[in-house]
Symmetry: C2
Subunit: 143 residues, 2 copies
């Protein structure tokens, strides 16, 4: 479905969405325990996202990662695409081709619709969507 790395990245971004903004940047050191991701690994993933302008960061004292207002409009697919590549999530249940109607596999009729829906959720759900209502942090990272 999604790679571990993508899951980690999403969790990291969610934490930033709940706790950061331009004036309150956050160090990896303060995130990794809450989201249960190894510190150095999470750093790598956030750097990758920052490099692709999915999230924001500044170096130096008082620096850290954060989400700008624009960043919050990013979708889950933006994250997944950056970390896993789009191919991975869109590939057919039985192989590596893109899953399309033109050349469907035997299972497509059974699972294709589900898969499309899942992808649509990734594409249409923004970070903002996920945190509206600002629920408890605990609720976001129960594992």
């Amino acid at each position: 479905m999604l790679s571990n790395s993508s899951k980690y990245a999403i969790k990291g971004v969610l934490y930033l969405a709940l706790n950061s903004d331009e004036d309150h940047k956050i160090m990896v050191r303060d995130i990794f325990e809450v989201v249960h991701v190894p510190e150095a690994y999470l750093a790598k993933l956030l750097q990758e996202l920052s490099r692709h302008n999915i999230i924001s960061s500044t170096r130096g004292p008082k620096g850290g990662f954060y989400l700008s207002a624009e960043d919050r409009k990013r979708t889950l697919m933006d994250i997944v695409r950056t970390i896993d590549g789009e191919k991975r999530v869109k590939s057919c249940v039985l192989g590596i081709q893109d899953c399309d109607m033109d050349n469907p596999c035997v299972l497509h009729k059974l699972v294709g619709a589900n898969k499309s829906k899942f992808i649509k959720v990734l594409e249409n759900t923004t970070i903002l969507d996920l945190i509206e209502g600002k629920q408890e942090i605990k609720q976001f990272f129960p594992f």
Copy 2:
């Protein structure tokens, strides 16, 4: 979603479903090219399935892999469970816990239903279901 190995295994079993029975056993050598899976690797996967009584096999001359009538009633989940383990396919989109209502993650509301449906398809679809109508082999393995 599913591991490569599971995909391979499903393709192998589908081939057996279309071409084998107790009286017509099939060697890996005659399958691997059609389903585009490395010979030795496919062999290993089929052995694993056989060991778990998901498919059947006999050694020696005239031996090979085949599906008994019983085997054809196996579900896709039987294959996936044997190769990947059930945990992998049932795990939460954001983590490794089982995906359940009691302790849902932020994304569960959005994708949980889809995932459940997908799993139900795996659990409820038998090999027999997939090959009824006995379509062209080409149609089954377009990749």
